[in-house]
């Protein structure tokens, strides 16, 4: 690490281009923790949003109109409001209301800010997923449903074994797009002091006043993360491909 660090120190002294992350151990540790937090937020939200999408799309097919209505309005709410405002509503609004009192009478939050960020982001992306899965479900040919019924599958069984796998594969490209958007949206967690990449970079550049360098590093890291996700989703699409569906 020493020659690399030395070169970056030279870069700072000679040209004023200051990449403290390269030569300062404390800043490097901070930035890596931020990167890990972004990855943690992304992975947790992706998994949770897929679950929400599957469950929500199933509930949207329910026979009970009240249940269908509930799903419809919740989905519309999360699709038509800004994720930052949702996050503020959850963390600064709802969190204050849901306060319990601990042992010595001190207020205890129900969950921490990272958990609220994951919850808010998952609901945001999950709502979009519900719509995408619904479109996928509608694209499943009726002949499949009739065949399943004639084979004696229950309504839930049809959904679980026939409809969901096919709908998932059909909607995967669009879901892919949504998940990439989710990874980019994790940066709004900055506003509630979740120590993800943008927050940590802000701290570093407040101390070292090296804004453009940190911006560049941040941009490169996000592009790398998105690149990895897209690569993975492409592999997953190919692995799940069913002949006769999609391009």
């Amino acid at each position: 690490m020493d020659p690399v660090a030395a070169w970056f120190r030279w870069l700072d002294d000679a040209h004023g281009i200051n990449f403290t992350v390269a030569y300062d151990a404390f800043d490097r540790a901070r930035f890596l923790r931020g990167l890990l937090m972004t990855i943690e937020l992304s992975v947790s939200s992706i998994v949770l949003s897929l679950i929400i999408g599957a469950v929500g799309a199933g509930m949207a097919r329910a026979r009970n109109p009240i249940l269908r209505g509930c799903v419809y309005w919740i989905v519309q709410f999360f699709r038509n409001t800004p994720p930052l405002a949702q996050l503020y509503f959850f963390f600064f609004g709802l969190n204050s209301v849901l306060v319990t009192h601990g042992a010595n009478g001190l207020p205890q939050p129900l969950v921490g800010n990272v958990a609220w960020a994951i919850l808010s982001l998952s609901l945001f992306a999950g709502a979009h997923n519900v719509e995408l899965f619904r479109a996928g479900i509608e694209a499943v040919p009726a002949t499949m449903l009739e065949a399943a019924e004639s084979l004696g599958y229950s309504r839930f069984g049809t959904y679980r074994h026939i409809i969901l796998p096919l709908a998932f594969r059909i909607s995967l490209p669009a879901v892919n797009n949504n998940l990439v958007n989710l990874v980019k949206t994790t940066s709004v967690a900055y506003a509630i002091a979740v120590p993800e990449m943008l927050y940590v970079s802000n701290q570093i550049w407040s101390d070292s006043l090296n804004v453009p360098e940190m911006m560049l590093l941040l941009l490169v890291c996000y592009l790398a993360l998105v690149g990895i996700l897209v690569r993975f989703m492409g592999w997953w699409e190919r692995a799940l491909r069913v002949p006769g569906f999609g391009a």
Partner: protein, 256 residues
């Protein structure tokens, strides 16, 4: 049309109930003062919301113009042109919008000196520029998708009728594309409008910043939920109709 209106009416009444409900949840004595506080700050907050709408409108305008140009570059015949435009598009699509905004706010100077005149660049203009870049990349992709969805037969027919590439695009392909582009473009407008709240993180005085300041001035934590809920309601009331309209247009323009 009537289902759309009735859905919208249900939404509005439900939200009104929700807002009143959250005010009531704070206790009977307080609810009057919460609604009073909301009413007192409404003109101030509405000004902020209007600012959000202006930022999104300008960004869409500039970004769409730039996006058309970039989109044409994406379907160009030269490989180098396609690669370069593809790179630019991917760069601005894959970068988080908050990071793009940060970059524009910090890296663009506060004023430009061109040929003796100085042009001041306030923060919100830099934010518009940043958003326009994001819009540009998305519009380019929408254009490319629309052009690709036109059957190849159209291109071949045009070629057999001795249309040049430019004439083919201008007279045949693009007019058909425009209709197909409208639903995703409207969807993009909705997304960009919602993303304008990101500029609050950079200190621009739009509705989220102003809500924070109003709350600071009131200094009453029972107002948190109602105030943030209020802002959410406004965005919902603006973006939900756009979503309904987009869905209607998609059904109308669905190509078999």
């Amino acid at each position: 049309m009537s289902t759309t209106l009735s859905r919208y009416a249900v939404a509005m009444s439900a939200l009104a109930l929700l807002l009143a409900g959250s005010a009531f949840a704070a206790g009977p004595a307080a609810h009057g003062s919460i609604l009073a506080a909301l009413w007192k700050w409404t003109p101030f907050l509405l000004g902020g919301f209007g600012f959000n709408l202006v930022i999104s409108a300008l960004s869409m305008l500039i970004g769409t113009a730039l996006g058309f140009a970039l989109g044409l570059g994406l379907i160009a015949r030269g490989r180098l042109m396609r690669a370069a435009c593809g790179f630019v598009m991917n760069l601005f699509r894959n970068a988080p919008r908050l990071v793009l905004l940060f970059m524009c706010m910090f890296l663009i100077p506060f004023k430009l000196s061109l040929f003796g005149t100085t042009v001041p660049l306030p923060g919100w203009e830099k934010a518009v520029f940043g958003m326009s870049l994001a819009v540009m990349a998305n519009v380019a992709e929408i254009l490319r998708g629309a052009v690709q969805s036109i059957p190849t037969a159209q291109w071949e027919s045009a070629e057999s009728l001795a249309f040049s590439r430019f004439q083919t695009l201008w007279s045949i392909i693009l007019p058909q594309c425009l209709k197909r582009m409208i639903p995703p473009w409207m969807s993009l407008y909705s997304i960009i409008t919602m993303d304008t709240v990101l500029v609050s993180v950079l200190g621009v005085g739009e509705v989220m910043t102003l809500t924070g300041e109003a709350l600071a001035s009131e200094n009453n934590d029972r107002l948190l939920l109602p105030f943030y809920g209020y802002v959410l309601v406004w965005f919902f009331l603006y973006c939900y109709p756009i979503g309904l309209w987009t869905a209607r247009l998609e059904r109308r323009y669905a190509v078999k």
